[in-house]
């Protein structure tokens, strides 16, 4: 994958670049602020741009702004992965507001989990979605009243969380080491229990599930 990294902290910028290079990725540009990041993307046409959520000149939220701009400018050819120090579903939702395709929201601590990081990069590079599991967990916790979620089985809730993280049925099956068929059964059951409209588009599914979690 051809990657541009934008982070105002040089240590992280350089560290990430070295780490990803060592992991076999191609880092084609480094930016210290949002404006430079946009220029680099326009010049180098990377597959993925990794954005710190908080950068000059916009401060907190600059990453989200640049991400949406890049998605529009490149007509979705460049995936964006926002690294955030905030475990806030509301901020993740701001990022996903224009669509989940080729967009990811990952907590910054995940840089130590190289497998997760590279998987996320590859997923958004291919046009998939990524939502940090911790954010999904926070969403699932925030329920006051008893809800339809209580009717889900333990396994179904697991599947729901993985759907919210942006994984496809195949990836979920791989993760839970079950067959694709079983995953599809779980998904159908979840959708009928929660009263959601069935969709096979992964990106729409992410949004539907997250919207459901938020709304309850």
């Amino acid at each position: 994958m051809r990657i541009v990294i934008a982070d105002d902290a040089a240590l992280i910028r350089e560290g990430l670049a070295r780490l990803l290079s060592e992991a076999g990725e191609e880092v084609v540009g480094l930016a210290a602020d949002g404006t430079t990041a946009e220029q680099l993307v326009a010049e180098t046409h990377p597959d993925v741009v990794i954005l710190d959520i908080r950068m000059p000149p916009g401060g907190p939220g600059e990453g989200v702004r640049v991400a949406r701009a890049v998605r529009t400018q490149t007509a979705g050819r460049t995936g964006v992965l926002v690294l955030s120090q905030y475990l806030e579903p509301a901020l993740a939702m701001q990022l996903l507001a224009d669509g989940a395709e080729g967009v990811g929201y990952l907590l910054k601590d995940r840089v130590a989990d190289l497998d997760m990081l590279t998987e996320a990069i590859h997923r958004v590079g291919r046009g998939g979605s990524v939502v940090d599991p911790a954010v999904v967990a926070a969403l699932a916790r925030g329920h006051g009243r008893r809800s339809a979620l209580d009717e889900l089985t333990e396994r179904e809730r697991e599947v729901l969380g993985l759907m919210a993280e942006g994984r496809s049925n195949a990836a979920i099956g791989e993760r839970l080491t079950v067959t694709l068929k079983t995953v599809e059964t779980h998904v159908a059951s979840i959708f009928s229990k929660l009263g959601l409209e069935v969709t096979h588009d992964d990106h729409r599914r992410v949004l539907a599930v997250i919207a459901y979690l938020r709304g309850h």
């Binding site: 902290a9 240590l11 992280i12 560290g15 990430l16 070295r18 780490l19 060592e22 992991a23 908080r54 907190p60 939220g61 120090q85 905030y86 475990l87 806030e88 579903p89 509301a90 901020l91 701001q94 910054k108 601590d109 840089v111 130590a112 989990d113 190289l114 926070a138 969403l139 916790r141 925030g142 329920h143 006051g144 009243r145 938020r214």
Partner: protein, 761 residues
Amino acid sequence: MPGRVILVDDHAGFRARARALLEAEGLDVVGEARTVTEALDVVQRVRADIVLLDVVMPKQDGFEVAEAISSLPHPPAVILTSSRDAADFGDRLARAPVRGFLPKAEISAAAIDRLMRGGEREDGAPPTSARRVWRAPTPAAPLPPGARARPLIPAEGLGPAWVRLAAWPASLAVGLIAVYAMWTSALLATGSLESNSLDPSPVVAGVALVGWSTAIAGLGAWWRRPDRYAGPLLVAAAWAWFIGAASWATDGGAFQGYYVILMAALLLTYPSGRLASPAARLLVVFMVAVLAASTVGRLVFETGPAGYIANCYPPDPLCAPIPQAFIDATYSTPSPNQSALDLYNTLDLGSQLALFAGAALALAAVAYRWLRATGPNRRVLAPSLALGVALTAAVGVAVLRRQPGFDTSIPDALGVGLVVALAAMPHAFTWDLVRGHLARTKVADLVVSLGASPTREGMRAALSRALSDRSLSVLVWSPDATAYLDEVGQATDLPDHDPARSFTLLERQGQPLGAIVYDAALREDPALLSSVSAAAATSIENDRLQEEVQAQLAEVQASRARIVATADEQRQRLERDLHDGAQQQLVALAIDLRSARLRVDPAVQPELARTLLGASARADSAISELRELARGIHPTVLTEAGLAAALESLAQRAQFPVTVEAPLPARLPAAVEATAYFLVAEALTNSAKHARAREAWVRAELIGDRLHIEVADDGIGGADVAGGTGIRGLADRVAALNGSLRLESPAGGGTRLVAEIPCGS
């Protein structure tokens, strides 16, 4: 009174104002001086009676100047003046060789006159130097402005109450004696003179009517206004009238006419109670002298038992009867003592003419004053003018009747009219006095209505009512503009040069508060003015204090809000520093550790690989902990996504189910959002920690421009704002934003926290 004044003051404005004031009141300002040197020069060059000297002068103070002046040959009297209180100068004032002290606000011809005369009859304390000294009162507490002037009449009034009470039956008795004397004398006369047999009852009735009417008017005025001379003067006139009548009936009228003098004195002194000029004093002395001579003459020459009802019809005490001896002489009976009779005749006619002249001059003086007066002053002088006309006419008619051959039949109607006028006029004075008294009782109402902290216009209306002066205006001193401001905040000059307007400066401890401007006629009642001024000064001062307190409160409120805003900013900066500093370092460390792990083959160096893995995990959890710490200090979601998202985020983090309903518009002021957020956070923490709640509900909505926040749980209740510093501090925060906070927490009944925070501006 002496009236040549030199003004010494370094302030040109004050000199101009004082000059205008004193000259309008009849004093002569013969010189002015700005400095000490000038003052000594002018005092030696110009002959003056009074030096009005400012105590506070540049370079040298007034006391030293006063010493210097007093050591001159034939020094004028010095009156010290200052915008400060007499008490401020302590016993220096008492020791100074001066006539007295006048606060600047109280300078008037009347006050100067009072001091000049007061110096000669005051208190009887031995003078400390060759000159008499007026001792400045040193009150324990500062007196209200205006209350410092020494009253002309003692506070308890003229004559103790029992004297005023006893005057009623005494006046009745004097009248009865006079009526009885007249009646018996008239019967005797009609019996003896068949040709002139007239019914005496109209005469007696007329005399009784005028006498008692005057007495009642005088007694009423004396009773209601013991502070004024007019009442006792009218009573004295009534008595003089009765004595004159009795005298007419018994001894040939030796004591007639004194009534006219007393009434003339009333005309000349009303309303101030003082004879305004040396000419007036001379007039009264002249009338008394002539009449006294006449009395002596009559007592010497009168031989018959009673006078005739000669040409006087209706016979009245103003018309002296013709003595028997005179008739005998005129009507061909030879008299043994013709020259003495001539002398008597001259004397008699002279006294009659003197009375007439006196009455006419008094009338002229009143008319002159009336013509020069304006507005309310004319109203005050109207009774005097009418009485003057009636009195002069009555005496004139009496003199004419006195002449032999005067046709008595013509002026019957005139005579009746004059009797009615003389009986009615005194009541006009009483009415005028009691009206003033009513005005004074209004001061009590005034103080009450001013106490209710009225508006400027309300205060003006109240003062205007109390002083019965619709033209009254209230000026308030503005230290910022260094000017007096009128009702609409316009800087206004004091009416220094307008003789129709007068003003009283309101001061407290030498600091100007304001002024009331009113019709010049009101100066006639200084006691009322000073009560009203005191009330006005108190009211203005209260207003000023209230304004100051309000301003301070607003300042305190603003500073509280600033403290909250500053605290928020600091928390935000701290949070930013944590993210930009320590957390970035930790993330970089995690990346380096991960990078190191890539270079280590666990199969070759299992120990090192394990250590690196552990270090990675610790860096990871350090990042998480730091993230939560920063979030607690100031949640970024609040600044980035607003209150609703932040409250949702709180609910997601809670250890128990929390339902959030926050239908809020986009964004609220930062201070309001932060306050609401920390309030809910603290409430939820308490619900989890202390209330053992299983569930909680949060509601935030905007009603009007107020944010309503409600946090409820199903816990054990029993919480108290005073109990936890957390809620206490947040209650202060809410109050700093002008909001309110209420905690309902019955034991066992859950806890409900309700707060309202205004979002306007």
